[in-house]
């Protein structure tokens, strides 16, 4: 059946490739081409642009609440112009501070680093790199984006309701998130958050099922699973994680909606709030945390795996060397995927969970460090005796490895329950997950954007801006998050609006000011990237060669601006793995693309 589809699509692709190269006269309207497009490449750009817009919003939120943390004594009159009564007299109000913190987390974790990252690159690269005309179901793919769009609209709307958006932290633990009396953000804002997330989960499932189906069924001739680039393996495992874990969050969200609006008691028991004795009995607030983290932890890897895959690919291409230990890389990603489901309770060591259960989770959690270590050593060995080209993508890939090491090692502290007792919910945690999941994944994403931008838009990004972007971001990220470990060692709790009344935590005023100042600069550098991005789509230097990075994978065998269907003629057949670099190619090149048949004297891979 799949070959029939392939054949059909091939005919389709040929039909649509007419004489005008790069300007396909489809019988399509603007709406069907750019809005409700079925082309995976257009859908991926939709995800990317939406992700960028959300990243600006989410980043801006962090700048605003960092102003409060860095300059708690100051007032900023322009904040009142921007936020109205939420910043009365130019001073951010605590309710809104918490709303900003919550929205910053929600937006960046879900809308940017899940939809924006895996939505963009899974969509863009899976068909191109496995040699398929499009996704298994272009329609579901299109719906996946539009459900994400709907989720975005609802979440954006929640920012403007009178009682404010959700403000109980991105983890929305009940009872705080269940009771409007507990926090103004737990009124209508929380309902909107839950509905938006439900839409988001639908989007993610539609996308994920599509990615899995496509990878399993639509690989071109010769593209066995073990010849797939590591990017595809990463997107595949990411999709598996998402499909198996997001439904659990959906169930949690729905039960929470019931508790909020229908008087059920799934998560509520023994509560007196605002002087009122609530009738709810027998629920468990901890149950929600299990449901949340059963997604929440795999979510970390949903964010991280695509960044790992893309960095592996980019490191290998620009080292002009095969990725070291391909099978070990696939194996370690598989191990991470399996273990990701078995470690969620390490977020709950201090909830009063059974110590024996805690011990099991310590063991499983620290096991994840082994595949992670294997990956790091393999990346390092890939660089060893290489011939490295520092393209902007390569810089970000190297930065990714550095950040992954720094942030990954602190995970060994937090995964060990006895240390977690002290470090839990302090700035140490903030430093840890921002470095390893936030900044590292962003670096993977930037690496991907810089590397595949020529394929997406047929133009290059400006290199000078790219290098400025890289250096400001990596130096800034370390300046922001490295000192936070020390605040964590001092026991400084996260999610505090003001520390000045605390004898134990008020000695970090100067440091907080420094961090806030650096975060402003880093945010500005990101805006530089955004300018570069949009400017280069229309005005960037044009790509003139089919394969600008001398890469092996199939996407570089398509025309510079591929139409719907990707290849104008036959889909190329694959004869070798994706990493034949440092080999003697034809014309003395140092690489042999995947579609080149294996020569007589060559040993097979």
């Amino acid at each position: 059946m799949s070959s029939a589809i392939l054949h059909d699509a091939a005919v389709h692709g040929v039909e649509h490739h007419d004489a005008h190269h790069g300007e396909h006269h489809h019988t399509e309207t603007f709406i069907s081409k750019y809005v409700f497009s079925l082309d995976h490449k257009t859908i991926s750009k939709q995800f990317l642009v939406t992700g960028i817009i959300w990243a600006i919003v989410g980043g801006l939120f962090s700048v605003i609440f960092r102003l409060q943390l860095g300059y708690p004594e100051s007032t900023f009159p322009w904040l009142e112009d921007l936020l109205g009564h939420w910043a009365k007299g130019g001073k951010l109000q605590p309710e809104f501070y918490y709303a900003l913190v919550t929205m910053h987390g929600t937006i960046l974790v879900f809308f940017v680093l899940t939809a924006g990252l895996s939505g963009t690159f899974s969509n863009f690269l899976i068909p191109l790199q496995i040699g398929a005309r499009d996704m298994a179901s272009p329609l579901l793919n299109c719906m996946s984006y539009w459900f994400f769009f709907l989720a975005s609209i609802i979440m954006a709307a929640s920012l403007f309701v009178q009682t404010g958006p959700a403000s109980g932290g991105w983890t929305i633990y009940p009872p705080l998130s269940a009771l409007g009396d507990a926090s103004s953000g737990s009124k209508i804002g929380m309902d909107l958050w839950l509905v938006s997330m439900a839409m988001f989960i639908v989007s993610s499932l539609l996308g994920g099922l599509n990615y899995i189906t496509t990878v399993l069924n639509m690989r071109t001739k010769g593209m066995s699973m073990t010849r797939m680039p590591l990017t595809i393996w990463a997107f595949f495992f990411t999709a598996v994680l998402g499909v198996l874990s997001f439904p659990v969050l959906l169930s949690g969200a729905i039960l929470l909606l019931f508790d909020r609006n229908l008087g059920t008691s799934f998560f509520l028991s023994d509560i007196v709030i605002a002087g009122k004795i609530l009738p709810n009995e027998g629920g468990s607030a901890i149950l929600f945390q299990h449901l949340f983290w059963f997604l929440g932890h795999p979510e970390v890897y949903i964010i991280l795996l695509p960044a790992m895959g893309m960095s592996s690919e980019i490191l290998s291409i620009n080292s002009r060397k095969p990725i070291f230990g391909y099978m070990a890389m696939v194996g370690s990603m598989f191990a991470i995927t399996v273990l990701a489901f078995l470690v969620w309770a390490h977020h709950m060591f201090v909830t009063g969970l059974n110590p024996f259960l805690g011990a099991v989770f310590v063991l499983l959690t620290l096991l994840i460090a082994i595949p992670s270590a294997i990956k790091v050593f393999n990346w390092l060995t890939t660089l060893w005796r290489a011939n490295i080209r520092f393209t902007p993508a390569m810089m970000f890939a190297i930065g990714f490895v550095s950040l992954f090491i720094s942030g990954g090692l602190t995970g060994i502290f937090l995964g060990n329950s006895s240390l977690d007792i002290h470090l839990h919910d302090t700035y140490f945690v903030i430093a840890h997950f921002h470095i390893v999941m936030g900044v590292a994944s962003f670096f993977g994403m930037f690496a991907g954007v810089y590397h595949w931008f020529p394929k997406m838009f047929g133009r290059y990004l400006n290199n000078t801006l790219a290098y400025i972007h890289f250096w400001v971001t990596i130096v800034g990220a370390y300046c922001i998050f490295w000192p936070m470990h020390y605040e964590g060692f001092a026991g400084m709790p996260r999610r505090y609006y003001d520390y000045s009344n605390w004898e134990s935590f008020k000695m970090f005023g100067g440091l907080n000011e420094f961090i806030s100042f650096v975060s402003l600069i880093v945010f500005a550098a990101q805006l530089l990237f955004v300018m570069n991005f949009f400017y280069s789509i229309w005005k960037g230097r044009k790509v003139t060669t089919l394969n600008p990075w001398n890469a092996n994978t199939l996407e570089w065998t398509t025309p510079i601006r591929p139409g719907h269907g990707n290849w104008p003629g036959e889909i190329p057949e694959v004869h070798r793995w994706a990493y034949d670099y440092a080999r003697e190619g034809k014309n003395g090149e140092d690489f042999i693309p995947q579609d080149v048949p294996v020569g007589e004297e060559e040993e097979k891979h």
Binding site: Y173, A285, V350, L409, N462, Y486
Partner: protein, 350 residues
């Protein structure tokens, strides 16, 4: 006006950077892209090694500045926390070694193996031996960390010693309430439905339970140096967390599910003032679980003192039962009886 000015300046800076970047792109096209790439390759390779060196110095400077502000120099204020501190040092040592080795290799390789004229990368795709080495070494290191970690974990989460005193702490938006079991050593029963703010029964204590009649309800927590204490932790509205950073402990307070935690204070508050060199030192209870808009202000105070001082303090506290039902207070009996007598005499006169 000032803001507008700042925005204008920032926009100008952006435009200038942007123009310079555009110009450098034209220059590189004129120069020949290959040559431009090689030049930028050299610059970035050099910057990577500079970043490594400056970064390592930065790590050292950061430690010089901030280590003294952490809790390490003053040591753990609880006996159990010492284990956590030693565990922290061990983990810092193990991860620190890996950190320095891998980061140095990463940037050193990047610098050393940058593209050079006529050079070709070495084809080296896999080595089972190497993979085995770097699977085994982390596995051994982690086994050690897990073993020590779990040993401490089971000690800390295990049963408290038999001489431990029991204190109950209850969190609500945004403060802490403390209850002592009184002379009988048993906390009276509670039922959240008995909560009654007007009468003052804000903890929902069941005063029909005899055990509750000698319980003390305070806002400050007093503990004895050297005597283990078991905290029984409750929450009335949302999830809170009893964060005791000086004792290296924390535990969630969950509505409907009481939790416990125990520890042995090592230093009195007065001693800590000397140890930290801070005359204003207090043991603070910080709420470490996001609980609403006043989360950052949910502060409690613990006073650790000698047994004698503690006994004096306990003796000065009056059981809540007697505060809420003054009629039952034996120390007030004289007053009460006079009232009753007066009532009696009135009725007699009638």
């Amino acid at each position: 006006m000032k803001e507008l000015f700042i925005v204008a300046i920032i926009a100008m800076v952006f435009v200038v950077i942007f123009q310079i970047a555009k110009a450098s792109e034209y220059v590189s096209v004129l120069k020949g892209e290959d040559l431009a790439r090689k030049q930028s390759n050299k610059i970035n390779g050099f910057l990577l090694i500079v970043f490594l060196i400056v970064g390592l110095i930065g790590v050292w400077v950061c430690n010089e500045w901030f280590f003294k502000k952490t809790l390490f120099p003053q040591g753990s204020a609880s006996v159990e926390g010492e284990k956590i501190d030693s565990m922290l040092y061990l983990t810092i040592a193990v991860t620190g070694i890996i950190f320095f080795i891998t980061q140095i290799l990463l940037f050193w390789f990047s610098f050393k193996y940058q593209e050079a004229q006529g050079k070709k990368a070495h084809f080296f795709a896999h080595s089972t031996k190497l993979e085995l080495i770097w699977t085994t070494i982390p596995a051994i290191a982690l086994t050690v960390l897990v073993a020590f970690g779990l040993m401490h974990w089971f000690k800390i989460t295990g049963d408290p010693p038999s001489n431990a005193i029991t204190v109950e702490i209850t969190g609500h938006q945004f403060g802490w309430e403390v209850r002592y079991p009184g002379k009988d050593g048993i906390l009276g029963k509670k039922d959240y439905k008995l909560y009654n703010s007007p009468t003052g029964n804000t903890l929902g204590v069941d005063f029909n339970d005899v055990n509750s009649n000698d319980d003390l309800h305070t806002t400050e927590m007093h503990l004895i140096k050297g005597t283990p204490v078991k905290l029984v932790i409750n929450a009335q509205d949302v999830i809170h967390n009893v964060g005791l950073s000086h004792f290296r402990l924390k535990m969630d307070a969950v509505p409907g599910i009481p939790t416990t935690m125990w520890f042995t204070p090592k230093y009195t508050t007065a001693e800590m003032k000397v140890r930290t060199g801070n005359p204003n030192f207090v043991y603070e209870i910080s709420c470490d679980q996001m609980c609403g808009s006043g989360h950052f202000s949910m502060r409690g105070v613990i006073v650790v003192e000698d047994e004698a001082d503690y006994k004096k303090w306990i003796a000065s506290q009056k059981p809540e039962y007697f505060t809420l039902f003054p009629a039952k207070d034996p120390t007030k009996t004289s007053v009460d009886t006079t009232v009753k007598l007066a009532v009696n005499t009135i009725s007699v006169k009638k």
